[in-house]
Symmetry: D3
Subunit: 161 residues, 6 copies
């Protein structure tokens, strides 16, 4: 029973769910007082790669940002909560969704400000792609995410042909 | 019913519980390949101030690190999970516990590597200390934490006299 | 002749072409010695926002990463060249392509390592979207880029409906 | 005469005294214009580890922050002076005091703003704790610091039992 | 024909010309809202070392800043363009000129704000100085730069004697 | 007696002497394991501007690096000590010398690795140059530095004519 056998056990999405909380400091802002897009993108990348690494149980590197939308500006002083979820596992890669929400100081209500879909590839110590565990959807939401991720992947592959 | 009345409603510790996940990059390390203490202390401060800010529903600034112990070294590539909890609320300040755990890549087991007890003060826009909501312990663990924090505070005040 | 009239003059893509050169330092790397995806994404965002800002002649903020693909890993010590081009201008937004190439130390040959398509929105001082100058394609390549960007935008709008 | 014999020679506190001067830039500030606690804590850690390393004549890593108090806020533009002193040397560790003072621009008067007591452990290349030179108090102030540090250590050890 | 023979082929200045574009963010500023000199100096060093490395076709390290003048302040939000050119190649070193220009947002006019002359040394993997390719001036401007750099070098050597 | 009268009192060089201590972390290094020139230049700029600000008793901005020489490479893990001294005060500017020394871990011997001569200009809140206090040389070394700085300034002015 070697390393390969380890990777065949399917894993539920909640095993790799990742939550990060950050506070926006002046060093993260651009010249007009809102948060510089690049800072948020770097945090999203950290959150996504931890999520992917937890599912794959090894290092996962960023392969693509398939879609990332800024829905609302983030301001200095805002608390933001990032959440990473594996939507689907393919042969050597996973699709991860990362969301960013702003939390209101007093009411603690959260408002979605960024949504991102990214692809990460599991790599061995030499940086070569390596098989990843299958994803085991546990409920309807998991199943829907899995189906939609598969459809997006099919569309991407069709575009390349 | 003004701002003051808002602050009198007691709040359960779980309302301000904060989780941060970070990955150790080479830029966080010292010359011998483990993580530079100052980086971890800066993250602990961010985690603690978000926790305190959530309880107080306003900005909270660091007043003291009462006790912070490094139990195990953190290495480049490690995933760490920070957790912040309010142990007790006093007149204008709160005691927050922040723990840092290292997560094993494959087994995902976590091992405690830093434990910290800090005091944060709620401030208004002019930086003046401001009353904070009381803490509402919900179970035995909450009650034990509250009692121990009160005892530590009494000991600190006694030492100053 | 006010501010509005200024924005109606069509501008050629070469007027906003942007080139950035960076060198990969250890602080940009992840734990396996290649460059951390988030660092590259932050640079791409800077390059794209300068490109968009030059076309719009005002501040432009990141609205979306429509597609970003990592084609090859970047290593510590590598020189990278980023290039930003406006593909198309819409009502208050532009599509910008940013490419990242690695330059070989001795031969100075360049190899594409990241390709990104992003959308930026021109904003006024209050952060409100503001009309942008039309794009004036000057040759066949400009025209092809413009057409493809328009098709991608139509596909995105169709998906939202 | 090997490495061990080197470490038995007692060293005066002034041999490891460390002074750092820093200027507070906007990148160090939090959202309310004062300096982010984590930045100051990271500087204190650098100052303390240089002080400890000078006494031990090898790398010293942070073991604990025993007590750290913020006495006054630091503002953007302030010059701060950090000073590190070894209070006591134990078997493989030292207690270091780090103070942070704000210097007034015109009068150059200094005002204490942070006081910290930290424990550092001397380590060999494999990260294992290593004996440290004894401390040689030279005057009354040195002797008082040494005695108080010993008392704090006794109290910490008593608490653990 | 070994490594040495490679370095004898003279290279035109345009082969190592380097352009960097950066945007001034609040994290780059000092307490009075203009850009912190150290940030600009670090960028100039990156630009110069890429320029020198391109000419030498190997790593080049900073040996000296012979002259660097700030002609105008840079403000947060400004776009700056850095340009690096090799003025002259000596035995194991090159003189590089780096200029920094501020670009006006609307007119895109550029105004010189920093001029720097630096010396870089080509090094092998062990950090030892290594012969560099001769410079091949292609036009009158190249020739003038070369002559002036030679004169400056003669003056520096004369001063040391 | 207004602000102007304050600036006429001559000040001894030791009143503005500045010492900074830093430790070289991997984030400061370049791809060949020595310290990135730009990092050292940024620290030198901080040290120089604090020194100048102390003499002028107000904010001083970098006007020029007249001469900066790297004498020895700095390696990750090295402790470095920066020292800033005012050599001469002119009408609205000062010449500051900043030296950087590497401290040997065991012997604590220091070795000069960078020497820099810089010019800083005192500015008022609007960024306009402002008269600075005269320098009061106290001993032979102070007098020699003052004379040499005056000679360098004369040479620079002569070159511009």
């Amino acid at each position: 029973m070697g390393e390969d056998s380890r990777t065949v056990e399917a894993r539920a999405p909640r095993l790799s769910f990742t939550e990060m909380t950050e506070i926006m400091l002046p060093q993260h802002s651009n010249a007009i007082g809102t948060v510089f897009g690049g800072t948020v993108m770097a945090w999203i990348d950290v959150c996504g790669s931890i999520t992917a690494g937890r599912h794959c149980q090894r290092t996962a590197v960023t392969a693509a940002v398939d879609d990332l939308v800024f829905l609302a500006p983030i301001r200095v002083g805002d608390i933001v909560v990032l959440k990473g979820r594996v939507n689907a596992a393919f042969h050597t890669s996973v699709e991860v969704e990362v969301t960013v929400e702003i939390e209101h100081r007093v009411s603690q209500e959260r408002r979605m400000c960024v949504q991102a879909l990214m692809t990460f590839v599991a790599v061995d110590a030499a940086g070569r792609p390596t098989p990843v565990p299958p994803l085991l959807p546990m409920d309807e939401d998991d199943a829907r995410r899995h189906k939609e991720a598969q459809r997006r992947r099919d569309a991407r592959l069709a575009k390349k042909r």
